[in-house]
């Protein structure tokens, strides 16, 4: 009996993903446990292992296909004695879900890289339909969630479900309303067929007179970055607070620590994570997030640390950072960063987080303003530590100074609270021994 291979759910909230590559071809022999394909979710790429053994009879969903619904058949495996000629592949595939649609779905045609002169009156491009509709996927949502979404004008296709098997439940709608996610396209949709996923795209890509260009199709990660950061700037009223921290003492402590460690190293960034966590423990009001009903003050400091990776960035989370020592943080960070660069993080390792840190010091950036990572309430941007003239007791002196800028969501954290956090942070950084307290 031929077996259909279904699109796996790689995280509880995953409803669809991109089938990135096939690692086997039709006709290849497969054993249980073989890696047969790679799937790209929001941020990570993961491997699909075969559960059954046999011969790959047919690939139903071509490599590079976006928005493949979870549980849609993606291939058929033939058992011993069967051959592709005498098995009704479509019937096998059909038994698993809406196969024909998935099969017929062409790769999302990348716009031609041609330099053809743009037409004077841009022809309306067929707009991408909302994710769920495009893949013919049924959206699972509770009746209450459906009604609440309808009342709030939300598009269920854009909301991740936290219920059993990714079902959208009341809680998810409340979160979406609070976070401003999933707003259905405005009424003007008929005139300009650009539904919500166009968030983050340039307002009008087809202006005439553009020079020749290459088009790089957006990865899921780029789409998520575009969507979330646009939301952030649209909905979170940002303001910025900057302090300069002298880090000579910190550098000395780090040097002494590392001299005592056997080969392992604690970085300045690890100490910045630790200081931030301790400062947030002292000023819990800054470890908070906005919802329409209430401000959530988190009981644990889970710090998202921005890590640049090919094609974008990702924010692995150091959980319970307020209870961790510098070496624990250093080890965890090293592991998370290296797996992040390999695209091997599990979703739960980069989702969540109550506060973010972005450090561009290593690129020589003096100081910058980061965009808040929603639904968090603040992000700390760390600049380079550099020698600068400072005035001490009325005389000029030289100190190593690091500028740190806190971007704050004013709905959650007011200026005074932000300042209080930064003061606590500065004190810890400048007098690193107090981190031991």
């Amino acid at each position: 009996m031929a077996i259909s291979v279904l699109m796996p759910a790689l995280s509880p909230t995953m409803t669809e993903g991109k089938l990135a590559t096939w690692l086997v071809a039709e006709g290849d022999k497969i054993s249980a446990g073989d890696v047969i394909a790679e799937i790209e979710t929001d941020k990570a790429t993961m491997e699909v292992e075969a559960v059954d053994e046999g011969v790959l009879g047919k690939i139903i969903v071509a490599a590079g296909t976006d928005n493949v619904a979870v549980n849609a058949p993606i291939a058929v495996i033939l058992e011993e004695g069967e051959d592709a000629g005498n098995v009704d592949m479509d019937a096998v595939a059909g038994s698993g879900g809406p196969a024909p649609k998935a099969e017929a779905k062409p790769e999302p045609a990348p716009a031609p890289t041609a330099a053809a002169p743009a037409p004077a009156a841009p022809a309306p491009k067929p707009a991408p339909a909302p994710a769920a509709a495009a893949s013919g996927d049924r959206v699972f949502a509770s009746p209450l969630a459906r009604r609440m979404a309808e009342q709030a004008g939300l598009d269920l296709g854009q909301i991740a479900g936290s219920g059993p098997n990714g079902r959208i439940v009341k809680h998810d709608i409340e979160e979406a309303i609070a976070g401003g996610i999933g707003k259905a396209a405005p009424a003007a949709v008929a005139a300009a067929p650009a539904p919500a996923p166009s968030i983050g795209s340039a307002p009008s890509p087809d202006v005439p007179g553009l020079p020749a260009f290459d088009e790089i199709p957006n990865t899921n990660m780029r789409k998520v970055i575009a969507k979330r950061l646009t939301e952030s700037k649209q909905f979170a009223p940002h303001f910025y607070l900057t302090v300069d921290c002298e880090i000579d003492a910190l550098l000395n402590v780090r040097k002494e620590l590392n001299a005592k460690l056997d080969g392992e190293k604690v970085s300045v960034n690890d100490l910045v994570i630790k200081a931030s966590a301790q400062a947030l423990k002292k000023v819990p009001a800054a470890n908070a997030s906005w919802t329409d009903e209430a401000i959530r003050i988190f009981k644990s400091v889970d710090i998202s640390v921005a890590v640049a990776i090919e094609g974008g960035l990702i924010t692995p989370v150091i959980r319970d950072a307020q209870n961790k020592g510098a070496l624990d943080i250093a080890r965890e960070m090293k592991d998370l960063a290296s797996r992040a660069r390999d695209g091997k993080l599990m979703p739960e390792e980069y989702q969540g987080g109550t506060f973010s840190i972005s450090n561009l010091g290593m690129f020589g950036i003096k100081d910058f303003c980061a965009v808040i990572n929603p639904p968090q309430g603040a992000i700390l941007a760390i600049g380079a530590g550099e020698q600068r003239p400072v005035v001490k007791d009325g005389a000029l002196a030289v100190a190593t100074v690091m500028s740190c800028t806190l971007s704050v969501d004013h709905r959650v954290v007011d200026g005074a609270v932000g300042a209080e956090f930064l003061a606590a942070f500065k004190k810890l950084i400048e007098d690193p021994l107090t981190m031991l307290l």
């Binding site: 995280s11 509880p12 509770s142 009746p143 209450l144 969630a145 009604r147 609440m148 009342q151 936290s162 219920g163 059993p164 098997n165 439940v169 009341k170 009981k299």
Partner: protein
């Protein structure tokens, strides 16, 4: 030498503990359970189950008393309290052995011993003086709770009983005082009332079954009085003078103090958590008013130590304990799709005559939470099956959020409502709205049709009333 190292060690073999242990074993974890008295805990041995056995006897006796109204004749009816108690003990024993088999089948190692924490990841057990130390990566406290003794009202097992004494009653009291009208108090009041005792219930709050919807409390009050109980609300027992064969109770109500004489007193004034002798001192396990403080995943302040069920606080219900245990274990195992327990979805049942059952918010609580409400009511009088059963008294009440149609709560009183409430629990868990409930086909003729009608009534569409 027996194994002493485990992934999961559960202290307490009640409905919280043994279910946790079985779930852990199902997930492939090496599991031990330590129980100091008997498997099945209070629920099975001294609570839910044996009281249901007693109440069943009382119910049948009630039916026998009314045989004539069903066209039957039953002359010379009576009862033998010893045999009623014996049957109840037999039921408990049968199920107690069942739990032992289930644990064995799931390869859970059972120690019949007392246990206490003995440092991180260590538990010292004491099996009648034979001590040994076990180690476990995760330790789950599931030691439950026991009857609370108020000063002056302490149970002595002779004239003043707690639930344990009442379950093995050796005499049939003619005049019985029940202090407290929560589930435990009212069930015993109902039992002894059915068997012919002159029962007085004293409740400190302004109504009986104070956690229930006020309307249901009111109907229960009337029904109990109709059965011959004397109900005193907003009243307190100031003291008990214990004589040789009777007790004189000083009861204060509305500023007036009276003295009344009873043969027996049942004290059912709440419970306290079993937090003693567990080695919690010196750990980061926080105890607040005899209950262990936990987070949404049942974690205590001490890494690797968890608490579930009665010891971890209200509601003190066996099914809450079991469910909490499963959540705790699945979270430890790193399962996906684990969600914290939502108290608003835990049904509660009281097996007095008439029965009371509810889930979710009361009308008053829903109003206080700021909801605009649609409330549906359907009386037993309008239901064919209820009339045929000879049970025409009762009510099914539903409370909806007018804006979203969310079923916020359901409250029932009457025959068999404890078996009906799960329908609304499923509805709440699936987040159905009134529309789905209206579209559901309820079988005729059943009492459950009232659940349908109550929903229809909330939207002005009840058919049979």
């Amino acid at each position: 030498m027996a194994d002493t190292q485990f992934d999961i060690l559960v202290i307490g073999g009640g409905p919280g503990g043994y279910v946790s242990a079985i779930r852990a074993a199902q997930l492939g974890m090496k599991t031990a359970l330590v129980e100091r008295e008997h498997l099945g805990g209070i629920c099975l041995n001294w609570g839910c189950i044996p009281t249901k056995a007693l109440l069943r006897s009382a119910e049948i006796f009630d039916h026998m008393k009314h045989a004539e109204s069903f066209g039957l004749s039953a002359g010379n009816i009576g009862f033998d309290l010893d045999k009623v108690v014996q049957r109840s003990r037999g039921v408990a024993k049968q199920l107690n052995q069942g739990v032992g088999h289930l644990l064995k089948k799931n390869k859970v190692t059972v120690f019949m011993a007392a246990a206490k924490l003995a440092g991180p990841g260590k538990v010292e057990i004491d099996e009648k003086g034979k001590k040994q130390t076990l180690s476990a990566k995760h330790i789950i406290l599931a030691t439950g709770a026991r009857a609370r003794d108020l000063p002056g009202l302490e149970a002595d097992g002779k004239l003043v009983w707690n639930y344990k004494h009442a379950l093995v009653a050796d005499t049939m009291p003619k005049r019985l005082l029940v202090i407290g009208s929560g589930a435990i108090g009212i069930e015993f009041a109902s039992f002894f009332n059915s068997l012919g005792a002159d029962v007085t219930v004293v409740e400190v709050m302004d109504r009986v079954l104070p956690v229930e919807d006020a309307e249901i409390s009111g109907l229960a009050h009337k029904a109990f009085e109709k059965k011959g109980m004397k109900i005193m609300t907003g009243a307190t027992v100031k003291g008990l003078k214990r004589g040789a064969k009777e007790v004189v109770a000083t009861i204060e109500m509305g500023g007036k103090s009276t003295e009344q004489t009873f043969d027996r007193v049942i004290s059912a004034v709440g419970i306290v958590g079993n937090v003693e002798d567990l080695g919690l001192e010196g750990t980061k396990v926080k105890v607040d008013r005899t209950h262990v403080v936990i987070d949404e995943w049942c974690r205590t302040g001490e890494p690797g130590v968890y608490a579930i069920g009665d010891i971890a606080g209200a509601p003190w219900l066996a099914h809450k304990a079991s469910h909490e245990g499963v959540i705790c274990i699945e979270k430890i195992a790193g399962l996906k799709d684990v969600h914290p327990l939502d108290v608003k979805r835990i049904p509660g049942c009281t097996y007095c005559q008439p029965q009371v059952a509810s889930v979710g918010l009361t009308e008053a609580a829903a109003k206080a939470a700021g909801y605009e409400l649609k409330v549906g009511r359907f009386p037993f009088m309008g239901n064919g099956k209820a009339i045929a059963l000879g049970e025409p008294e009762g009510l099914v009440k539903t409370v909806f959020d007018a804006k979203t149609g969310e079923l916020l709560g359901a409250h029932m009183i009457g025959a068999e409502v404890t078996e009906l409430i799960q329908g609304y629990s499923v509805a709440k868990t699936l987040e159905t709205t009134e529309v789905d409930l209206m579209h559901t086909v309820f079988p005729h003729p059943t009492l459950s049709e009232m659940m349908h009608e109550s929903v229809l009534d909330a939207y002005g569409r009840a058919v049979h009333f």
